[in-house]
């Protein structure tokens, strides 16, 4: 069945967000045969998420700016020859092969000499008392509802978060008609020195600064009060969210006693930044560094975005959370690198083609250094949970259930084995960071020293009907392949 097999590509690009799209385009333009797979029904990734199936955009001008950016980016693939496969998740990589699962179809193993992994990021999970109550939702979750389904939950929304998203997100949501009664930013309010530093770094960053101004204006326009140095302490309610308690924090995001305040809301949207989706990169065997400002564990890369594994490249938020503009440029560099390494693009040409992207990247990174005081993640964010707080929501494991296991080991795998934390459908995406920080605290270690659990496929749940291959002959009886002979 021809339509049921994917032609073996020169390069497989995983992820159809800004990084994946620009990587695929750069590699294809340079002459490589590119297969681009994304598990969603539309391209654009999280940031440029397009309306879901069943929606038709009749007036693009009426949509938000991210929709329009995304549309332009997606359209840039037209005529590029990139083989785009949607609803197709890459669930495993092993030895230069990737396993692709298209919804409702049998898995296909695709051999690709090169892979550009652009898996993106997800909301940093933060476990505080009540975080599993209905009515508590992540920024990414709410964004998906708004962008793909055009719906907003609840009547009174409190946003609690930090970083660029804390400014941007409430403004965007207000655009969709959300009633945000209060926005809390855990970080400090900008000081004159910060603004000066940003201004100095901003030459060539006007687009980003404009965005920032636009978002701030958006908040003012929608009369959304924004309070700096405030963190969510707990969510309360009988079976569903009724109120949120928040408090002032110090520079490390640790709660200042006696500053608690309560707000009645029915939705709490939590957005303490994003963390890279590591699963495929870890499965591929890549080496990692630790950069808290980029989301914690980040894949180690050279300046062509090659990882430590031959033929595997990484780009975008999945390689360190820096946003969509950085992702687009990183994707271009990774795509050019794959073409250069495959021998279809000369070194000099590649360097020349990559130069504009590199220039933009260095400017943007100068800005993020300037804003790092405002946008860093305080360790206090991992100290909100109490004995009774559910840490692993899939398996309902509370902090007190974890304590004896954490006392016995620094190994997350062992904690998992003793408590089942991390064994559910999310496979630890929500609890692993928090458990690592609990281990680090118990044993007086830095959280960066605590290794994550053994990566295992599939990176997303896959139905047995898609996995099972009835043509495989079993290995049969358990007999030694050869009888040992005495020397």
């Amino acid at each position: 069945m021809a339509e049921n097999t994917f032609a073996a590509p020169d390069v497989l690009v995983v992820g159809g967000g800004p990084a994946g799209i620009s990587a695929a385009r750069a590699a294809a333009v340079a002459g490589l045969k590119v297969l681009l797979a994304d598990e969603r029904p539309t391209l654009g990734g999280q940031i440029y998420k397009q309306p879901g199936p069943g929606f038709t955009v009749t007036d693009p001008a009426a949509m938000d700016r991210q929709f329009r950016y995304g549309r332009t980016l997606i359209e840039s693939l037209d005529g590029s020859g990139v083989d785009v496969r949607l609803r197709t998740g890459v669930v495993a990589v092993e030895d230069g092969n990737a396993v692709l699962v298209t919804e409702g179809e049998p898995a296909r193993t695709v051999s690709a000499p090169r892979m550009i992994l652009a898996p993106g990021a997800h909301d940093r999970p933060v476990a505080f008392p009540g975080w599993t109550l209905p009515g508590v939702i992540t920024a990414g979750g709410l964004q998906t509802l708004a962008k793909t389904q055009r719906v907003l939950p609840g009547k009174r929304i409190l946003f609690a978060g930090a970083g660029p998203v804390a400014l941007a997100f409430p403004a965007q949501l207000a655009h969709y008609g959300a009633n945000i009664v209060l926005a809390l930013e855990a970080g400090p309010s900008p000081r004159p020195a910060d603004i000066l530093q940003v201004a100095r770094a901003a030459s060539g960053n006007t687009a980003l600064l404009l965005d920032a101004v636009r978002y701030r204006t958006g908040l003012l326009k929608h009369r959304i009060p924004l309070r700096y140095g405030q963190i969510v302490v707990r969510a309360e309610g009988n079976g569903t969210l009724e109120r949120v308690v928040h408090a002032a924090v110090d520079a490390d995001w640790r709660v200042v006693p006696g500053t608690e305040q309560t707000v009645d809301v029915d939705v709490l949207c939590v957005g303490y930044g994003f963390v890279p989706s590591l699963e495929l990169l870890r499965l591929a065997g890549c080496v990692f560094d630790y950069r808290e400002d980029l989301g914690g564990h980040v894949v180690h890369r050279d300046d062509w975005h090659r990882t430590s594994v031959d033929g595997v490249y990484a780009a975008g938020d999945g390689a360190g959370v820096e946003g969509s503009f950085v992702a687009i440029d990183e994707g271009t560099i990774a795509g050019l690198a794959a073409a250069m390494d495959a021998g279809v693009l000369g070194k000099d040409s590649a360097a020349k083609l990559a130069a504009p992207a590199r220039q933009r990247l260095s400017r943007r990174r100068a800005l993020s250094t300037a804003t790092s005081r405002m946008y860093r993640v305080g360790p206090g964010v991992f100290e909100l949970s109490t004995e009774d707080t559910v840490i692993c929501r899939c398996e309902v494991v509370r902090q007190r259930d974890l304590a004896p296991a954490i006392e016995s080991t620094e190994d997350i795998n062992v904690v998992k084995a003793y408590t089942r934390a991390g064994m559910g459908p999310c496979q630890g995406k929500n609890c692993q960071r928090h458990i690592a920080s609990l281990i680090a605290r118990e044993h007086g270690r830095d959280v960066s020293d605590i290794a994550l659990a053994t990566p295992r496929m599939p990176v997303r749940p896959v139905p047995i009907s898609s996995i099972a291959d009835h043509t495989i002959d079993g290995p049969g009886l358990f007999v030694a392949e050869e009888t040992e002979v005495a020397p």
């Binding site: 495993a92 092969n97 898995a107 496979q427 099972a468 291959d469 049969g476």
Partner: protein
């Protein structure tokens, strides 16, 4: 639920004592059980583990305890060649099961023992014949099984595929929790005075001419310890340890692949195995399905974990869904690998070496089922040699020619 206490990381990483009576090497179920029975019997014991307790086969197997004879015990040489050994193994299973039944009480904690019953299915006439043959042996050994065919099988197990020719049912087999048994043994061993040390990899074992406390020096990455006696509970790495004293064990290791699914409403209670294809299948107490049965994985040097294999996942789940068609839409959430020891002649390696007196081993395939029994028996022998009968000759540590000295 009462939260169990485990051996603390702090004590696990404390310095090794300079000497002891018995050094047990390996922190899986065999080693932890050895340490427990020896310490409880009054011996001075130090257990040494390379990494963390229970991280290899003991903690990564699917938790079944087997009573029915199964595919991994068949040599393929035909019923007559295997008959005596299989009968002996069936009898041993009964003894092993008796230990398991008392284990929760012995250790004062739950090992999540569940007697679910178990099916062993056959698809072909040849496989059905094997079921009849093994049923006969099981009867001789005192294991209750019955051969169920046709409509009777459909009525009793409607979840099984219609094309299966028959199955044997054993009402008493089932499973326990592999994640807690060895750690529980270890914590109780420590309470009886055993020293438990983790993160100490054995690099060499010196055999001294002298007897007594300086019979052996075990060199580890965390220091050296003198011992009168050593017990090799290294599982998949037992052969490497034995080689350090010049003994060649008839063992090999294989990486095996396991799949686990999301939870689903209860579909069936008994565990399900296949007599002719590699499959063990159970729906756990958490309502997830664990699908294993010995599909291979690639290898990796320690401390890396063996990778899992998409090929094995695809083959193993194909067998599972052809036996239980209702699994088709259930989603696999994770796979893992375990490194398992196999003995080439299917018999365990248990006892004291004649070539190197003082060097013991407690190694068996299907170690989760048999280790509590063998560890208890070996500990009894080490504590009171005169009062116990020797292990059968086929368990001998010395049954293949020694490694050439170099």
């Amino acid at each position: 639920m009462t939260v169990p206490q485990w051996v603390s990381a702090e004590s696990g990483r404390a310095p090794l004592p300079p000497s002891t009576d018995v050094v047990v090497i390996g922190g899986g179920i065999a080693g932890a059980a050895m340490a427990y029975y020896l310490a409880k019997g009054g011996a001075e014991v130090t257990l040494i583990e390379r990494g963390e307790l229970n991280r290899e086969a003991s903690g990564t197997n699917a938790g079944s305890f087997h009573l029915q004879l199964a595919i991994h015990q068949l040599s393929g040489q035909g019923g007559d060649a295997d008959r005596d050994r299989l009968l002996a193994e069936a009898r041993l299973s009964v003894e092993a099961f008796a230990v398991w039944e008392g284990l929760g009480e012995e250790l004062g904690g739950s090992v999540d023992l569940h007697r679910t019953g178990g099916w062993m299915v056959a698809e072909t006439p040849e496989q059905l014949q094997i079921l009849h043959d093994k049923h006969e042996l099981e009867e001789l050994a005192g294991i209750e099984t019955e051969v169920v065919v046709g409509d009777d099988l459909r009525d009793r197990a409607p979840y099984l595929a219609g094309n299966l020719l028959g199955a044997t049912y054993c009402p008493v087999e089932g499973h326990a929790n592999p994640l807690v048994v060895a750690p529980l043994y270890a914590v109780r061993a420590a309470q009886h005075g055993a020293v438990i040390r983790t993160h100490a990899d054995v690099r060499a074992i010196e055999v001294h001419a002298a007897t007594g406390a300086r019979r052996f020096t075990v060199h580890t990455g965390a220091g050296a310890i003198d011992a009168h006696r050593v017990v090799d509970c290294g599982g998949a790495w037992a052969g490497e340890l034995a080689k350090m004293v010049g003994i060649r064990l008839p063992v090999r290791s294989e990486g095996l692949h396991v799949n686990v699914t999301e939870p689903r409403p209860r579909m069936f209670v008994p565990m399900i195995q296949h007599i002719g294809r590699r499959l063990t299948l159970k729906q756990t107490e958490n309502d997830t399905f664990i699908i294993g049965g010995g599909w291979p994985t690639p290898t990796a040097p320690p401390p890396k974990r063996y990778p899992t294999s998409w090929h094995s996942a695809a083959g193993n789940t194909a067998v599972a869904v052809s036996v239980v068609p209702g699994l088709a839409d259930v989603r696999v959430v994770r796979t893992w690998s375990g490194v398992i020891v196999f003995t080439n002649d299917f018999s365990p390696v248990v006892g004291e070496s004649a070539q190197v007196p003082g060097f013991h081993a407690c190694v068996s395939s299907t170690g989760f089922t048999f280790s509590p029994l063998f560890a208890r028996q070996l500990a009894e022998q080490m504590l009171a040699p005169a009062a116990t009968s020797p292990f059968p000759q086929r368990y001998s540590l010395d049954r293949v020619p020694a490694v050439a000295t170099y």
